[in-house]
Point group: C2
């Protein structure tokens, strides 16, 4: 792990083999720390494969004393099959990102126990009884600390890895490493920013209900310029080390605890991308609620909670990021240059202006991340689990209307209140 | 050279030794291509060390048939001495950058003959009878093709290496490499964007004449915010592979030929930095002319030529960059997404808007690059060669006034005409 430059090339050695529920024990038994954590003998350990994501194997292993998780890269995209190969080294980027995130916000990410480069596997903390946030949102569960925890994660990790919070020499060395996470970045570039706006073999949507709006997205020149501007930012603005997949499926929760997992897409990109990813998935949850309404619960009150969470998330992120910046630590805007009252005042005015720019970026990415989940390859359970296609299409049309506005008008929308109002207005109005 | 990742770590082997006029022949003799180019026997070759720059050894070697140049990194900053160590690997980045530039604009860079990693040396084309452009500008020589050639270089190299002109997979691999050019980037970060705005041991200026304005620069909060915003862009916007030192000392000319040399600072940064570097050095040449006036030549006509060159440079750069972009080739704004008339019109409006943004960036960097040459460590011969300190200070004060305005008002200055007018107005007005 000390060979930072180019180290990623050596992930997945000649002995690499995909683990199975049978072989995980043999893999773990020689690891003293892990064995002690599980307790007892390897034969007493239970193993269950639970990977329900798109890309990897995930095993939960439990022993008499405790449990752990083993996550292993597969050399292809799991949801598609061996026809779509994917480099094993993504687990290396996940491991490197987790280490950096652990330093910034140790209480918000899983503990790392072991990394096996040759096997492309991480052994880490078992989060129990945590639930994937997306499932909680579908279930209508409230998480009082969620907004603040995710804001703390985003502000802490983005600031610490930006030029505002870290010296250029540290940042450039890390950026050199994460620039090699090419294949996973390319997935985002294609699936988020490109395919939903053209005829692409892997696109799918609720058909025929959404055929018209899908065609509108493919022929809306202003929208396509807006989304390509966002793509250019994604490609060229190395502002901070992003989680880069910060949706509600990458967050595990209890009512009192939040953990962010799965940073395998990590790379240096625009900060608004992470902020927007979380906001997009809250808004997808919001617009899907009417599809989950029951006689006893129309989900209106829960929708209010989701929008409150959205608002608290942004206001807390804004506050925490500013607080970090006021402490300083990076090579941009070094504190000694602004050490008198006039200097501090001018710099603080600039900080506020920057947060407004970051907000505009974030809501643009919010729109892009919403649309791709309805018109592109990978959809979200919030909407997919609505069985009635007409009802689902209604939810999806509302979400797409909001997504489009966020992308094309991001420079004129200036407050999280406006975003909240927009969501409420779109939800109230009839769907054409 | 095939080991792109991390390859830079191995520059300067155990046998590295600084070359001398005596040892250069022994170094070159085994190289068949170079020997053939020089002709005759090694004993017939003449060697002259001509490095007048700040960092390296440069030898001109001539034989019966032709000549070549050997450039070798020294492990310290030549103008300061061994107390300021500098990694040898900068010659590797220069070599890699030259290869990329050669592919984009082969007629505007020197030919490469050989790279010796262990000796940290490049063997390349001898440019003869070319003069360093800076010396030509001091001498009042006109170069009719200069503006167009440098615009062609900048538009060609910046576009080809940007996300507008190259696929993300190629760009990310290169960016990973150039992110390791940490030490040379840090020199720019400190000497251009930081030191001139604070008390720093290596700063110097024409004293006491400029003491007041130097103090003003250190206490001007709006200016310091503006220059730090530029620094943040320099640190975080990997728009394209920059030459990153594109001043008039890095350009060799005859009245009919232009060659850009010395890209050892190369890295992925904001495109406006290269554009601004050249404009800054034209403006420094402009404001220094009154210091070089003689009875027979007040240099007024030459000043007009410099501003015409400035104007032609930007308008040509703008035209060529747009032309490249209209052809496409990169992953941002893929052409198939805009293949109807409405799409092409919307995209072209965005292109024009982007050029305006790029102009604002460029003139900001122009200001920063001007000020550092008057208040920081490294000065320029255009001004230094004015012996009378009062006369020199008058030129420098004008240049600083312009530099400050360019940095603080870059968002409201929208045309190269305005820049030209501003220079003429400042030159006409009395210096306080």
């Amino acid at each position: 792990m000390t060979d930072r430059l180019g180290g990623s090339r050596f992930v997945g050695g000649p002995d690499y083999v995909a683990l199975s529920e049978q072989t995980v024990r043999t893999f773990l038994a020689p690891l003293a720390e892990v064995s002690a954590l599980l307790g007892g003998e390897a034969t007493q350990w239970t193993v269950r494969e639970v990977g329900d994501g798109n890309l990897n194997l995930v095993f939960i292993v439990k022993g008499p004393k405790g449990g752990i998780v083993v996550k292993q890269s597969l050399p292809y995209v799991r949801m598609v099959g061996e026809s779509w190969p994917l480099p094993l080294d993504r687990i290396f980027f996940e491991y490197e990102a987790l280490k950096i995130q652990s330093a910034a916000v140790p209480h918000l990410v899983p503990k790392l126990y072991h990394f096996d480069r040759g096997m492309a596997a991480i052994v880490m903390e078992l989060l129990e009884p945590h639930l994937i946030l997306r499932k909680g949102l579908i279930g209508g569960i409230r998480y009082p600390k969620l907004a603040e925890d995710v804001a703390t994660f985003a502000a802490g990790t983005l600031f610490a890895t930006s030029d505002l919070g870290s010296p250029a020499v540290v940042k450039k060395e890390r950026q050199s490493l994460f620039c090699n996470n090419i294949t996973l970045c390319k997935i985002t570039e294609d699936l988020v920013f490109t395919d939903p706006y053209q005829i692409a073999p892997m696109n799918r949507w609720t058909t025929p209900q959404l055929d018209d709006v899908a065609a509108e997205f493919r022929h809306d020149s202003a929208l396509k310029v807006a989304v390509q501007e966002l793509k250019w930012m994604f490609l060229s603005r190395g502002e901070a080390l992003l989680h880069a997949d910060l949706h509600t499926g990458s967050i595990m929760v209890t009512p009192n605890q939040t953990r962010v997992i799965d940073p395998e897409f990590a790379f240096y990109g625009p900060m608004g991308f992470d902020v927007g990813a979380f906001m997009a998935n809250l808004l997808l949850a919001y617009f899907s609620q009417s599809g989950h309404a029951t006689k006893g619960d129309d989900r209106r009150a829960y929708q209010v909670w989701i929008l409150e969470t959205l608002e608290t998330f942004w206001t807390t992120f804004n506050r925490l990021f500013l607080a970090h910046w006021r402490e300083g630590g990076g090579d941009a805007f070094p504190k000694p240059l602004f050490d008198d009252a006039a200097g501090e005042a001018a710099l603080d005015a600039y900080r506020i202006k920057t947060m407004a720019r970051l907000f505009a970026d974030a809501i643009g990415f919010t729109g892009a991340k919403m649309a791709r989940r309805i018109l592109g390859l990978a959809h979200v359970e919030d909407l997919e689990s609505i069985i009635d296609p007409d009802l689902r299409a209604q939810c999806e049309k509302r979400a797409l209307r909001m997504a489009r506005t966020l992308m094309t008008e991001r420079q004129t929308l200036t407050s999280i209140h406006e975003i909240r109002d927009m969501a409420e207005t779109i939800e109230r109005e009839p769907v054409r």
